[in-house]
């Protein structure tokens, strides 16, 4: 009799649940997108994709990146550059309000830069080597003094987000490690914003979501169909994202899904898959100091053996085979640079010239792929199969990202080959060349080649210091030819970021441009600039009723 009483209560509870299961349709204009967690919305800490998306919508910058890679006035209406390229003076727009109503002034810009440099995280590495000091000439004029000329400085300023000095100082934790600045407001800024951007934080729940709403008196007018609010949901689990998409509770998916996900998503009514080339390239980095990949002929043999078409068309449908180390979308890309093709005769010719030609079985090659990105396994196994055709034995090793970062710190522990996606820090070829092949990035996951080529270092530093754009781009093109000839890594594909989005009821500028073959915004995060998106709730209702 005890058991029956228990069963009865269970049935009763289930009954209530089923009765009260009316759906909760919110009809507000909202854009929801999924992305990997964690997300740090503190401008001095943000550095990865999801953080950059959030910060670009919550804060303003002096200049704003356009879709074709240029920068246009934003908070700074106009600016002058000194002859020697060491001094930049910006004239600020008047009447720009922070979210707490105070007006944005030059002292806020100075405070923001000093805070970024002192904390030393986020995008500070771009400015640290070049900024000497910043001063507020008057309330609406700010001047930057550089240590040495830095060609792409204007493009880099896109990563300087302006905070409200008074608001930050009001929320400082005294026990921080920054002297009288305490913790520089780091704790508070994790879940709040002190910005002037088009959207402001409504609720930031760690490990769950960031919910932001329109800033009513933003200095730029809103389009009536621009989103009232946006919500960034912290998950990239395939099954979860699929369900949200089909229940129309998700407008834009993340780009980290496997190819099969996009195939299935495109079959959903009113859903399309956008291919945005964000300027990141997929490399197979080869260790230039460890036999057998220290021999250029061995590396070139592999370069000719890889079946690039399979990678570009079947593993990552819609991708393009990479042409040299810089993505075709980045300003400064060399369109004429040599592109390796699969050619087994050439591969065997090169291998014959290699000093390891007859001792191949003594030199197996370890190829490491990142456990967190399942599609890399497909490429690893393809390379293993292609190398086997030349008699080269490749061991495929699955390794968590944390372990990779640790392994590449010293030449001895770095494996022969790594499959890694690398994206530029700012929208110019120089960024990729510097972070990939300059000796300063040896020991980081961005360069496991251990190139350490003094001549190449000089060429890169000289190009970056050139202020004149045409001259700088010409030097970039020469460096790309030099690298392709050296063949330190296999240039696999320019990797498109695939997004499944609700084409039926939202207009997403970046997706439409990509569809028309035009370039999308090369600066990471700015394709998710909420003001550029249009939402039509009534169309969403139509879809929901139809099912």
């Amino acid at each position: 009799m005890k058991v029956y009483r228990v069963i009865f209560s269970i049935v009763l509870v289930a009954g209530i649940l089923l009765v009260a299961s009316l759906g909760w349709a919110d009809s507000a204009k909202i854009v929801r997108f999924t992305e990997a967690w964690p997300t740090y919305i503190d401008p001095a800490v943000a550095a990865d994709f999801s953080s950059s998306v959030s910060v670009s919508n919550l804060y303003d910058t002096l200049v704003f990146p356009t879709y074709d890679g240029e920068v246009v006035p934003h908070l700074a209406e106009s600016w002058e550059v000194s002859e020697d390229g060491l001094t930049y003076t910006f004239h600020l727009r008047k009447g720009v309000k922070f979210h707490n109503g105070e007006e944005l002034k030059a002292e806020d810009v100075v405070f923001s830069m000093e805070r970024l440099l002192t904390i030393g995280q986020g995008y500070s590495y771009i400015f640290k080597p070049i900024i000497d000091r910043v001063e507020a000439v008057d309330d609406y004029t700010v001047r930057f003094h550089l240590k040495k000329p830095f060609g792409p400085f204007l493009y880099a300023l896109v990563r300087l987000y302006i905070l409200n000095k008074d608001e930050v100082l009001a929320h400082i934790e005294p026990t921080g490690e920054y002297g009288e600045m305490g913790d520089y407001g780091k704790k508070w800024l994790l879940t709040h914003d002190a910005g002037s951007g088009p959207y402001m934080v409504k609720e930031m729940r760690l490990e769950e979501h960031l919910h932001a709403v329109r800033f009513p008196d933003y200095w730029k007018p809103f389009d009536p169909n621009a989103p009232e609010e946006f919500k960034y949901i912290g998950t990239t689990e395939t099954a979860t994202v699929r369900t949200l998409l089909s229940k129309r509770e998700l407008e834009i998916s993340d780009f980290r899904q496997p190819a099969e996900f996009y195939e299935a998503a495109s079959k959903l009514e009113g859903v399309k898959v956008a291919k945005l080339f964000g300027g990141s390239t997929f490399f197979c980095m080869m260790h230039n100091r460890k036999p057998p990949t220290d021999d250029v002929h061995f590396r070139k043999a592999l370069a000719y053996a890889i079946d690039y078409d399979v990678i570009a068309n079947q593993i990552f449908p819609g991708a393009r085979q990479a042409q040299g180390p810089v993505s075709f979308i980045l300003p400064g890309h060399n369109p004429e640079v040599y592109q390796y093709r699969r050619d087994l005769e050439k591969a065997r010719e090169e291998l014959a010239k290699s000093k390891y030609a007859d001792k191949l079985d003594e030199y197996p090659v370890d190829l490491v792929w990142c456990a967190e990105v399942p599609d890399e396994e497909k490429v690893a196994l393809l390379i293993q199969a292609n190398a086997a055709e030349l008699g080269i034995k490749v061991n495929v090793i699955k390794t968590p990202w944390m372990k990779i970062i640790e392994e590449v710190a010293t030449p001895e522990t770095t494996a022969h080959m790594y499959l890694i996606f690398v994206s530029p820090h700012y929208a110019e070829a120089g960024s990729m060349l510097q972070s990939k092949y300059h000796s300063s990035s040896c020991g980081t996951w961005e360069q496991t080649e251990w190139l350490q080529d003094p001549e190449l270092d000089k060429m890169i530093e000289d190009a970056i210091a050139t202020v004149d754009k045409e001259e700088r781009f010409a030097k970039y093109r020469k460096i790309q030819e030099y690298i392709v000839e050296l063949c330190p890594s296999l240039f696999l594909i320019d990797q498109p970021e695939n997004y499944a989005y609700q084409d039926y009821y939202i207009d997403w500028v970046a997706a439409e441009r990509a569809e028309r073959g035009e370039k999308v915004n090369p600066v990471m995060g700015y394709n998710h600039y909420m003001m550029d998106i249009r939402v039509y709730p009534e169309k969403r209702e139509e879809l929901l009723k139809k099912k």
Binding site: A239, E260, P374, K378, L381, V396
Partner: protein
């Protein structure tokens, strides 16, 4: 009809037809594992083979279990995967059960003594460390391969048997037959292994057969951190885990290896129950 000892056992065993089914399944699985290269339609698919044009084919005559995202035949890989899964299950259990059971008996019999306190507290420590953290630590110390995965699972698993047997040993300790064995001066070994253990065998067996399934599945969780069978060698747990992402479109990539695991678990459990019947007290 001479009622031979084997005949009597077979009768007790086959009284429930399901036990015979279990035996057939287990023998079948072992056969497929051992003769995989001849039984599997595409033996080379278990090695470094990739053919993306053939990827994600639904089940067809050419590929009864369809093909996976690399274009490899799922059926052949399941046959080869039986090897590592059975190996994992058998080796882990053959380490874990004797160790765990012995410690459980000792701790249970010498209740309230320092032996009990020491063993049971160490067991508690091991049980309270989340398995994946233990596995990740082991991946960093040892090279990631099947043997080290077995070590990792064994380190995680033995405490469960200690707790199980401890529970039974503490209550059996007060039974008359144990006290009478003590009275006639039986050795501790005799009491533990000839008096108490036989009374726990059927429960231990039930857990062992259930664990066959758990251990294979733990392999899947370990592969999440890169431990265990390294690709391209197939492992059932990993195939289920990796394939689960492609449900429901490419359901076969995950479902068939899942069914294979279920078959193994079903076979071992039915067999286990049958063997359990052998130890049952009923007259036969």
């Amino acid at each position: 009809m001479r009622r031979t000892r084997i005949g009597r056992w077979w009768y007790k065993f086959s009284r429930n037809p399901l036990s015979v089914v279990g035996l057939i399944i287990v023998v079948g699985v072992v056969f497929c594992a051992v003769f995989a290269p001849w039984v599997a339609p595409y033996p080379e698919h278990a090695g470094p083979y990739v053919n993306y044009r053939e990827a994600n084919q639904p089940p067809s005559l050419a590929h009864p279990f369809g093909t996976d995202i690399f274009g490899r035949d799922v059926l052949s890989r399941v046959f080869f995967a039986f090897r590592s899964s059975l190996l994992m299950g058998v080796v882990v259990l053959s380490i874990v059960v004797p160790v765990g059971v012995t410690l459980g008996l000792l701790a249970g019999y010498f209740k309230e003594s320092w032996v009990d306190i020491l063993i049971m507290r160490i067991t508690d420590i091991f049980l309270s460390v989340p398995p994946l953290i233990l596995a990740l630590a082991i991946t960093s110390v040892l090279k990631p391969n099947l043997t080290n995965a077995m070590i990792a699972v064994s380190v995680m698993w033995w405490p469960w048997y200690t707790r199980l047997v401890y529970g039974m040993a503490t209550s059996l300790r007060n039974e008359y037959f144990v006290q009478s064995a003590e009275l006639i001066g039986a050795s501790k070994f005799h009491i533990l292994f000839r008096e108490i253990l036989p009374n726990c065998v059927s429960t231990i067996l039930t857990k062992m057969t259930l664990d066959m399934g758990w251990v294979i599945l733990i392999g899947a969780a370990l592969s999440f951190v890169g431990l265990g069978e390294q690709p391209p060698k197939p492992a059932l747990g990993t195939m289920v885990a990796d394939g689960a992402k492609y449900l429901p479109e490419y359901w076969w990539i995950s479902v068939f290896p899942g069914l294979a695991i279920m078959l193994i678990v079903l076979g071992f459990n039915l067999l286990g129950d049958g063997i359990g019947d052998l130890f049952s007290l009923e007259e036969a």
